[in-house]
């Protein structure tokens, strides 16, 4: 592993040469998240109250997901990030590879109603090295001014005759294969069972074939609302918070279709060897408390991971807009929904992405 360390340190060294600077200032922790409206919601709900309470500083950094940076920092033994907001599959993988500090869930504070943390957090949101803060979802959305009698179910997304026009989709196998199967008539709960068979994968690609020529592929979460606003696409898959943000903050006439939503978690993790581990842990406990999670939900439509936060979710900050119906976890939105299966993707992401890329490049 010496080689890897050397390799990683060279990359890091080069990065430092190019002017990347680390925050070693005393009392300041580096919190890394996804930027945009999402980081803003965290700054309002987590950062500011924590700074006020403890007197410590926070250096907020943006990144675009993945664990490449965590891996490089940890393997080089030169960690500058204290706490990072990651997707579930990445949290599991980084934990598996020994890149993260373990977090003892029993030390998390009780819920506001006195429920112990391990019961208060939704099932499947606490892990060896990670604590979930929000539930987010991949959905599809359309512009109500362009399509009057809009799509209702996942199959409509793939129906070019009924709803002509381009489609926006994330460039990658996940979660398009799930969407394709659901559009082909598979119930949300059976999706991963079918996708685990070679025939299921073929079926998903066959369904994707039917709209391939009409798809505009996006990569960053900020793209789909833009594609919709520009009229580049008639409908697009997107992260629900991004669409909500465009509706609530920019008064865009977008509508979300919740049928077939695939929900997932964002979690806090602490890289192994983080310079301010104790403070980062304190920030983690503070930010995932009942009140803070509920507060975040008034800035962005991502569901809090604690059950005790749900009743406290109120109105959108500065507007008369009830947040509850816009949460992925709202019962009305969960009628045909599935959680992203990180185990399935851990095993199959490499292979299916290769197949996806080959499929994309072929005519």
């Amino acid at each position: 592993m010496k080689i890897a360390k050397f390799f990683a340190s060279t990359i890091l060294g080069a990065g430092l040469l190019m002017g990347a600077t680390a925050a070693y200032a005393s009392g300041e922790i580096t919190v890394v998240s996804w930027g945009g409206a999402y980081t803003k919601s965290q700054v309002e709900a987590y950062h500011k109250p924590w700074i006020a309470k403890t007197g410590n500083g926070i250096k907020s950094e943006d990144y675009s997901g993945g664990i490449a940076e965590i891996k490089a920092q940890v393997e080089a033994g030169n960690v500058t990030w204290d706490i990072v907001d990651v997707e579930l599959s990445d949290a599991i993988r980084a934990c598996d590879e020994g890149l993260l500090e373990t977090i003892d869930a029993s030390t998390l504070p009780d819920g506001a109603d006195g429920t112990p943390a391990q019961k208060d957090f939704m099932e499947g949101t606490l892990f060896e090295c990670a604590v979930a803060n929000i539930v987010w979802s991949t959905i599809f959305a359309y512009d109500t001014t362009k399509i009057a009698d809009g799509p209702k179910v996942m199959a409509d997304f793939f129906d070019l005759e009924k709803f002509p026009g381009k489609r926006g989709m994330r460039k990658g196998a996940k979660p398009n294969l799930e969407f394709a199967l659901m559009a082909d008539g598979v119930a949300a709960k059976d999706v991963y069972g079918i996708l685990a068979t070679p025939e299921g994968v073929d079926r998903a690609f066959a369904k994707l074939d039917t709209i391939k020529d009409s798809v505009v592929w996006w990569e960053a979460g900020a793209q789909p609302p833009q594609l919709l606003a520009d009229g580049e696409v008639a409908m697009t898959t997107a992260y629900n918070g991004r669409i909500f943000n465009a509706v609530a903050n920019e008064d865009k006439p977008f509508e979300i279709v919740w049928d077939g939503q695939i929900w997932d978690l964002d979690l806090w993790v602490i890289p192994k060897g983080a310079p301010n581990k104790e403070k980062a842990l304190d920030f983690l406990k503070f930010s995932t408390s009942t009140e803070q999670l509920a507060k975040q939900a008034s800035y962005i439509s991502y569901g809090p991971a604690r059950l005790s936060s749900a009743p406290m979710v109120g109105k959108f900050e500065g507007k008369d807009l009830d947040m509850k119906p816009h949460m992925p976890t709202s019962p009305n939105n969960l009628t045909n929904a599935v959680q992203n299966d990180f185990n399935f993707w851990a095993d199959n992401a490499d292979q299916l992405n290769e197949r996806f890329n080959a499929w994309l490049a072929s005519n």
């Binding site: 393997e75 020994g98 505009v216 192994k272 095993d347 080959a358």
Partner: protein, 433 residues
């Protein structure tokens, strides 16, 4: 230096028949050698910063990349004892109880220590590259095995999951626990090991890299050619116009060159997209209908248009600097001797611009073949180049070894092309002006 010294020796000897001495009594030959050596050292010292910089930022990383593409210690890091024992297994049926015991003990130990990059999950990821579906199997094994403290280990492991009974899994484990491996080059060339350990072509639905290499070379060639077609007249104009006008024109060439790459690329998005400027104009003047807008971006067309624009100055500048040195009187002389304008151009002017063309095409082609950011932004589905796939493996899938293997192949491709170029065009003919 040595010639000069031997010259001196053959000269007529001085009065005392000894060697020629300097004023302080040292033989001239010796003194001269010392001085020259000192001068060389001084000259070398001046280059030390550059040499160090090149070694640190260029030679070492490239060396590491080459090394990493064939050397992967995951297997021996996670299961050191098992790695040795399994090599003795003949690959028939399943390994023996002793080998199973070492495997179970090694991964339990690895799980306990949880050292960076030496966990069972890491081994699972490595095996998963060659045998998809193994990651969750290996990752979950330590947790399930915790209760087992004594043998028979083989039975215990096989009872956990029937996938452990698969001999292919153990053959793959045998392969990945060897530090030097051709696996990543096989993957980079769309090859794989089949169940019988033979190297075969990967299933067609998984083949992406070879075709993408060809596509990258082909698109780079098209881009280079288009750059040449566009740059030649511009460079000619620049070199023949009066100074004031040509300076103005030169600024127009250089201005985009000084503008941020991202700005220029995103500008092309605004121009080319289906509700963009070009499509809107075409619809407005009625050439195409509103429903049949042309797809000019997020495909190969987009990549070609944007990259030709961005790389154009690299063609214009060498052409210009060479054309500037061609005296206009040559063309006039050719005309006065009866050549038609075209013949004069073809036989007198054009051959003299060859060094500039050679420099420009080489520069543009090599830049294009490794281009990353523009195809990533405007390439869409079929306009991405090999560098984008490499970046995907470094940043997303984290299969750095495969990324390194692809990078090495790209490096070798460029060097081979350079060699061919040198052979047919001659690198000494190259002129940047």
């Amino acid at each position: 230096m040595t010639d000069a010294a031997s010259d001196m020796d053959t000269r007529p000897a001085t009065a005392n028949n000894g060697p020629l001495l300097t004023s302080d009594g040292v033989p001239l030959k010796q003194k001269l050698a010392i001085t020259t050596r000192r001068m060389r050292w001084k000259a070398f010292l001046l280059t030390v910063p550059l040499v160090l910089f090149l070694i640190i930022s260029f030679v070492v990383p490239i060396g590491q990349m080459l090394f990493r593409s064939v050397y992967n210690t995951t297997g021996t890091d996670v299961t050191p004892n098992f790695a040795v024992a399994i090599q003795k297994w003949d690959g028939e049926d399943l390994p023996s109880e002793e080998v199973f015991e070492l495997f179970v003990k090694d991964i339990l130990q690895a799980q306990k220590v949880r050292a960076i990059g030496k966990t069972p999950g890491k081994l699972g990821t490595r095996v998963n590259y060659e045998l998809p579906g193994s990651l969750s199997l290996i990752r979950s094994a330590p947790r399930k095995l915790k209760k087992i403290t004594e043998g028979p280990y083989k039975e215990a492991l096989l009872s956990l999951d029937k996938r452990w009974e698969n001999p292919v899994l153990w053959r793959t484990l045998k392969r990945v626990t060897r530090n030097f491996t051709p696996s990543f080059y096989l993957a980079a060339l769309d090859l794989k090991y089949d169940a019988a350990e033979q190297i075969v072509a990967a299933d067609e639905i998984y083949q992406i890299y070879v075709s993408n290499f060809w596509k990258t070379i082909w698109l780079s060639a098209i881009i280079t050619f288009l750059c040449f077609l566009l740059a030649f007249p511009v460079a000619y104009l620049l070199s023949t116009l009066p100074l004031a006008t040509s300076n103005l024109l030169m600024i127009l060439v250089l201005l985009p060159f000084w503008t941020s790459l991202l700005v220029r690329t995103t500008a092309w998005i605004a121009i080319l997209q289906s509700k963009g400027i070009i499509n809107n104009i075409l619809v407005f003047i009625g050439i195409i209908g509103d429903e049949s807008r042309v797809q000019l971006i997020y495909n190969q067309t987009g990549t070609i248009i944007a990259m030709v624009h961005i790389l154009l100055p690299f063609m214009i500048l060498p052409l210009y600097s060479v054309m500037k040195t061609i005296p206009p009187s040559y063309m006039r002389a050719a005309r006065s001797m009866g050549a038609t304008p075209f013949t004069a151009f073809r036989r007198v002017y054009f051959p003299q611009t060859l060094p500039g063309i050679a420099a420009g095409t080489l520069l543009v082609f090599i830049l294009a073949i490794g281009y990353y950011i523009t195809p990533a932004l405007v390439g869409g589905a079929d306009g991405v180049l090999i560098s984008n796939l490499i970046a995907g493996h470094i940043q997303k899938s984290l299969n750095w070894s495969l990324g390194a293997a692809l990078g090495t192949i790209l490096l070798v491709t460029v060097m081979v092309l350079y060699w061919l170029y040198n052979k047919f065009v001659g690198i000494d003919k190259l002129s940047f002006g």
